[in-house]
Subunit: 270 residues, 4 copies
């Protein structure tokens, strides 16, 4: 290998007798730092203050579990075929945290971080919010972080997250902006569009100075926990084989019937 | 779909105005329960006591980060090709937590849980340990959880984990047994085979009544955090393109040379 | 990087003006060698004879499609959440080709290849088959490649594969052995246990001198094709959202009811 | 499950004694239809003509192998940790076929299909090409399918693909358009920007009436084959452990040195 550019990582190293993570001896952290704070250390390069810890753990906890989501079902179906590879079943579940799910936290955080970074000096937040709403309407794209198919009114998770952020001194400009964006969007579109949980998380991530590019990772970290719980339940009370059986039977019923009654094969589907 | 078997999950459900996880309203947990304790709730169906929380978080934290492992490099290489899919890069990294890595915690936990469950009434732990060692020698397989390629002496993480477990009342039979297995193995094989970090975690998981089938999931949960940190660093200080360039150049150098000097093509490789 | 061991790959290399695969200029293969034969070249290091081509393509084709399998459903659910990452949805589907599905071809091939490699000199195939059956019964494990939950009688794919192999001169010892194993198993267990499709593929792979460790890869290659077709259909006629909705509703119905009627939360599930 | 929308798939079904794929009995296809043609059947719902077969196989073959790509290295690193899960190692490799790699075929096909679909009636292809180039310049995005970091001149794969397409009657408007786009881009940007392999594949896919949304899937199907070959080689001549060792050592050398010389720990990295 002819080295052109030096390889360098600042996260961790290990020697014969110790592992050092972000400058801390791992042994000193074991038993002293809980998992959420360790995640903060990994992502930010330093341990959180107590206030940061409460707020960071709050947003992570919110993302862990949402019942039998497509991710959870996909993980369970994968486990049915590869029960020896729990890691693969979790991975299969995480793969669905793309644009339509995990990506929404990222988009909300990005919208807020870019709007604040690009705001004209002296521009008020109300003005920034108006521009955000106008920009999305112009490009005919949904504003991320607003509204919810199930929770029609105020998303109770969002309210609680804003309360936790405020109590700990993290109700800064990103939080204020997302609420103004919701107000402006409601005015512009004449319907209720309250900030939802992903909008609140995207805003609070900005207050914690977590870059928007990492925000999808918060959903990934949290949901990995939920998926392991679903796979443990699948082992004890399986659903996947029954889902397979029902789906396969119903979806191809018309082909089987056609076949028995001598119907022609399906036409070109390309 | 003709239902043959009812689908049932006891983990969580959501209604128009709330999400309930393991019987707790999620909103009541946000800001009150940190991520590690929430993971315990997901996996065990109840919140941990303070002692359980310290011990559970300790084993999770131990598994988060180990520098530029194959998993971290694989995640970074995936990110190079699909930077829009952070979740896919994390998934690629998790997929390597199989038999040789994540699986070792599972195997250590299984060995201890099965040995204790199958022990004859009245058998002493020393006797159980002897049978475990003899069983592995007979089947000519390595005893999981002992020894380490780098940490030749006592693994400092294992010592610390045992200390944390003891201080919190979790130095029970699984912990005692793994240490006796190490002693018996050292006697039988005449070389140092101290309990390593995965052995300690496997034992302590048993004390927390976490089934061995879930233990690989602890590694998955923890490592997902580390992988997100590596991908954030990759975005800012990329390694993957340089690794690719060096590996590709070196590995095919002999083919390129052969080609230029008119050498024959490689023979059958099947 | 201090190089300890030289990196070397003999598969392919590229220069400024060409790509060479297994000693062949790729440009000379484009338009001349079809995909199945190219796969043979990749795996075996040389192009197939016509007879090898027919047989290899036959086993690959058999593994492409089996309707709405857990893999196909999992891929579709992943696509629902991450429609921008088709590759991730295919990957999610492939992850279920583990021990219970893709692994069965591997196990059948391994059983036959190891039995033939380890047979005493001069031992007849009938004797080898008897030992194989006795060995599995002793270890109380199923014999891979025999029987099928749906195709109770002779699996029509297996019969056809054996016919194609015979017509092309590939009905050698692996094929003969798997049929004798089926006969011996039926005698020993007193029930019909015909060779199924995976048994036939495992045997024919042995005749093509494809190592058993690669056989799961044949299923992976083939099924990737089927999954892309399912995802294309999912885009045009989606199933995933409906499956999610039904599963989520049914599986948590008892929790919702319990909640409304004031029932206590679910007890510990760990 | 309360059914709201009927589940329906037209790809395949199986009964006790047969499997029917796209209206064909699978047994009739085994030994008669090679893998590439079966892939065409899966994707298009009918078998290809001879000309379609040559062209479809040509584009698929082109995408199988490109040496030690990030995908191949990632697959090998995954196999190191989970050698029991070949399918997971292939999946890890496929996950990198995102925006920067597999996505380029999709983007090229999309650009051409959308430009032709949206062209004003009577507009000449030269005019359409000019609009495509102008549109990309305006949005400041690269034109997909043009240029190549290594193959500076004409990509020999592209030339060969166009030749195969022309010989088989598939040098229609998509192929013509991509060449005009290259000419217009070269004029507008005053540098050589020949159509590369992905541009040619994207164009020819359009001629085969393969929707652009499926084109990334062609790369996935093809690359799955290459990855299995790399994993087979990894088993026999491993690279992954050496890559890990070198990368880990070099990337954390500065931390180890800092540690030994008493340097302070790394500052905040978040």
């Amino acid at each position: 290998m002819s080295a052109k550019r030096r390889l360098r990582s600042d996260i961790a190293y290990s020697t014969a007798d110790r592992i050092v993570v972000r400058g801390h001896d791992l042994v000193a952290l074991i038993g002293a730092v809980p998992l959420g704070d360790f995640a903060f250390l990994e992502l930010k390069g330093r341990l959180p203050t107590s206030a940061e810890s409460v707020v960071f753990n709050a947003i992570a906890v919110t993302l862990v579990e949402h019942g039998l989501t497509p991710s959870a079902i996909s993980a369970r179906l994968t486990y049915l075929g590869a029960p020896e590879s729990l890691q693969a079943a979790v991975a299969a579940g995480l793969l669905g945290l793309g644009g339509r799910y995990g990506g929404t936290v990222e988009e909300a955080a990005r919208m807020l971080q870019e709007a604040l970074a690009g705001a004209a000096p002296g521009a008020g937040l109300r003005e920034v919010a108006r521009r955000v709403v106008a920009g999305h309407r112009e490009r005919r794209v949904l504003i991320p972080g607003l509204g919810h198919p199930t929770h029609k009114g105020l998303d109770p998770r969002a309210s609680r997250l804003f309360q936790v952020a405020a109590e700990n001194g993290f109700a800064g400009p990103h939080v204020e902006l997302v609420q103004l964006v919701a107000e402006e969007a409601e005015t512009a579109l004449s319907r209720a569009l309250p900030v939802n949980a992903t909008g609140a998380i995207g805003a609070i991530a900005g207050e914690l100075e977590i870059p928007w590019q990492v925000c999808r990772g918060l959903a990934v970290i949290a949901r990995a926990i939920g998926l392991v719980a679903h796979l443990d339940e699948e082992r004890r009370e399986p659903l996947a084989a029954e889902i397979w059986s029902r789906v396969d039977e119903e979806a191809s019923e018309h082909l089987r019937e056609g076949s028995e009654s001598g119907s022609p094969p399906p036409a070109e589907l390309g």
